[in-house]
Symmetry: C2
Subunit: 527 residues, 2 copies
């Protein structure tokens, strides 16, 4: 990556800053917060033919019609018409290529020795019976069907008001409400996804081994299916109160009766959770999900590379990093398949891509449906440019494993957890996979938060970080301006992750109590 | 419908009560709350060969293998093996038929003169500019994307605590949160459904013409698309504050700033809503959705016929009744197509059935995915039996119109609004269609409620109504025991609807503050 500064006498007196990532690139992006005006001469002699907003691309050379437009050293598409040097290159000038073919892709060719280990890092976490560690101590109330959501919300309000103040070591109580459970084709092939997602959400490490399931009684998704298998063991050691309560249980004389029973069930669990204390856990107990949302053209050069740097540190320390978002990985799959740890992992990666291609096609769509109007306003021309900037979050390590949507992590290291790119769906699936902390990068800004794990938000540009001081945890925009390097921000993020994981710091969304709903990936029909 | 009582010397001393609906029926259902034991002799001489639980079926004659099992005068399937008289007939003994073919179905052949008008009924409602009437006076906060849900929830808490007490004529404030808006294939063919659902939810008559949309700014669903077209007019008459606020608006210096702006926006609307008063509205302003959930074998003989009776009264009074739930209508379509008001309406009805057949097939499912374990425990053998009992809610009138999922009512009378049968998805779509009150029947029991309209809950059996005194509004179980006739309960329900619509009474779920989430019907892919 190189910063190109023009002559000091430039327009407005402000130094022009552009970022060109790879030597092969024939475009660079404008860093200056106010953009740069037509007529401005850059250091390399290029004269801007158009006004170019911040984050948008400038042609550094004449690009012939049909010739590749190159960023990140990769073609992000071909020129729709001849693009003279100095032009602004927006999405209308770039014809998107087909995604890389999945056949005959080199697999596991870069799987070499792996990253060097990193010792000596730890955080203060809550140790769970199953060997995982929580970064928070939360009572989760799992629900088997949306029908009970109103009751679960009522219950959570009552617990917050009447019980939680008496159990100060418990961080929160959360109802795991969702839109699934009944009125669905529960035996359809794709129903496996929402069902295992709910099963695994109930096992999230931040829920401290406690299980409390509220069901209705007539729904298709049997509430007993949401009790983790290891609870059978746990109930043998004196914890005999049943983990499932169904509202249709004929012993209940109306609503008041149900609420009394549920409050009792909650209190027994709160009492146990309240006895737990943080203890020193190795950094290898981190399960960090990385995600981007509301991306701009800076995301791929500032926030995402810093996350990638931190991801490498976590992996080197023995921890787990999950990256996701199939439609933002699809166009960079030729860069990822070689990083698979072995042939099996590589095949699994390609299988997830192929599944998603078919899924989109069956709904009359393709991966070009991904970029948002906000992405484009932020300077991203298409999903190829978005994907190339997105996968950088995965760092440089080998891909140790691939999870289907809603599956739970089973190997440490860098893991690809296949999910849609939709922020709230991806977040829900990463929680199901066992994530105990999420890192979220954004260029446009989003107040996004999750109910079961802290979300550390990294801005890709400084103006956003300054405007949203109370919503952004770390400013990676300093990388664009040259104030900080990627390793600096990456190490800072790693330390911040350890602090937030330890409860020494709260992430912004957590401090403000902002949390999105759980939104399941539910590709099977409703009935 | 006939009640068959056995001889007084029967087992347990309790009178055996069975319901046979049609003269052709070769099965009847047991009414007695505790069921009836094997060996019991019924009035017609049938001796029970098995214990038969309440709500379950008894063969009143020998049924040969392959012969039709008949209930409601219709074949609900064929006998899997010979069924001797007196046997319990459960789902294992009934082979489901194919659904009625949609080709060559008689259409609009019963469209005759229509039901006789009924004058003199009214309720006290809130008159809206667009001619509709509200039964409640609610501030609705529409959201364009799930990303803003955490902020919207925070806002609603603040408004409830700080503003609502100062505006006593406003019933409630509701955030219309949902799982749509970004990370979706917004141009996919089926995306029209969630988008028009959100557009029409914002226009629900209980939201009093006020519009407040919270967007993020980079999402795919442009928040401006959620402003009803008639608001352009309304903003000309002095209401000049813009209806949309985007969190990414660059004038906001962080979260506190956003919240202040949204509180101001909300307060201006609360002040206007607070000036509204109920006025006498004709019953023709009712838009009542009817729905069943957690059904049992009684639903089709008690609650649903009473709802059908009340539906006829509403239609006769010039009002609108919507029935829905495609998979619970599909197997009774041969009974409904003849009731279409004309050929166009009939074709629209068949088109919705065909669309849903294809939708289910594309997901590897069919309408047999509908009945729940609870339905079966309640005595329903399959979707045919469920459908025959379900469509009775539509009463006996002509079908005046057919709406696609998420469309808004455009004609008064009996309307088929195509929706999934899933309670929470159906409720959301009926709210989008403009429903100002819902009637919900249940046999198994559900605490279901809706955020934008009161839900009147009718139990199909007396034990449920007695157990759930604080959750059930009306007991139709008295019809099964012979204590009341269908017209009695139907008229009682009609009066209750007018009382609840007028705010003179609160429905149970409303009184307890129980409301399900809005769950969109979203058949297009996520990305």
């Amino acid at each position: 990556m190189s910063h190109e500064n023009d002559f000091p006498e430039g327009h407005c007196g402000e130094r022009a800053i552009l970022i060109r990532i790879h030597d092969r690139d024939n475009v660079a992006i404008v860093v200056n917060a106010g953009g740069l005006p037509a007529g401005r001469r850059l250091e390399d002699g290029t004269v801007l033919a158009d006004d170019v907003p911040s984050g948008h691309k400038v042609a550094l050379a004449d690009i012939d019609e049909g010739a590749p437009v190159i960023r990140y050293g990769e073609a992000i598409g071909r020129a729709v018409k001849a693009i003279p040097r100095g032009s602004r290159v927006d999405e209308s000038l770039v014809r998107s290529p087909s995604p890389p073919a999945l056949k005959d892709l080199p697999i596991a060719t870069q799987s070499g020795p792996g990253l060097p280990p990193l010792a000596g890092y730890s955080f203060e976490g809550y140790r769970n019976v199953d060997g995982t560690a929580g970064t928070r101590n939360i009572l989760g109330i799992t629900t088997s069907v949306q029908c009970v959501a109103g009751v679960a919300d009522h219950l959570v309000r009552r617990i917050r008001e009447e019980l939680l103040p008496r159990y100060p070591n418990v961080d929160d109580v959360v109802a795991l409400n969702h839109g699934y459970g009944c009125g669905v084709a529960i035996d359809a092939p794709a129903a496996v996804i929402p069902i295992r997602t709910l099963q695994n959400l109930a096992r999230n490490p931040n829920l401290g081994d406690e299980v409390m399931v509220i069901g209705l009684g007539c729904e298709k998704l049997d509430p007993e299916r949401l009790v983790p298998p290891d609870r059978v063991r746990a109930s043998a050691d004196g914890r005999s109160d049943p983990p499932v309560l169904c509202l249709q249980d004929e012993t209940f004389r109306g609503f008041g009766d149900m609420v009394r029973a549920m409050m009792g069930m909650a209190e027994r669990r709160l009492a146990r959770l309240d006895l737990r204390r943080r203890e020193t856990c190795p950094a290898s107990d981190l399960v960090v999900g990385v995600q981007c949302g509301g991306s701009d053209a800076f995301s791929g050069v500032t926030a995402n590379p810093a996350v990638g740097y931190a991801a490498d540190l976590i992996v080197r320390a023995g921890g787990t990093v999950m990256f996701s978002e199939v439609t933002e990985v699809r166009d960079a799959i030729h860069l990822l398949a070689p990083r698979a740890a072995d042939e099996t992992v590589g095949r699994a990666l390609l299988r997830e891509m192929a599944w998603y291609d078919r899924y989109l096609e069956s709904g009359g769509a393709d991966r070009s449906a991904n970029p948002t109007p906000g992405n484009k306003k932020g300077g991203l021309a298409n999903v190829v440019e978005k994907a190339l900037g997105s996968v950088i979050k995965s760092g440089s390590g080998r891909i140790a494993d691939v999870l289907g949507p809603g599956e739970r992590v089973r190997r440490k290291g860098l893991v690809f957890a296949a999910t849609p790119a939709s922020d709230f769906v991806c977040g829900t699936l990463q929680l199901a996979a066992g994530m105990n902390l999420q890192v979220f990068t954004t260029g446009r800004g989003t107040p996004y938060g999750l109910p079961l794990a802290p979300v550390v938000k990294v801005s890709s540009n400084t103006p956003l970080a300054e405007r949203w001081r109370d919503l952004i945890d770390l400013d990676a925009g300093r990388i664009a301006t040259g104030e900080a390097g990627i390793p600096d921000v990456g190490r800072e993020l790693f330390r911040l992750i350890l602090d937030v994981a330890s409860g020494r710091r709260q992430a912004a969304a957590e401090r403000l109590g902002l949390r999105n709903d759980l939104v399941l990936f539910h590709p099977a029909p409703v009935t």
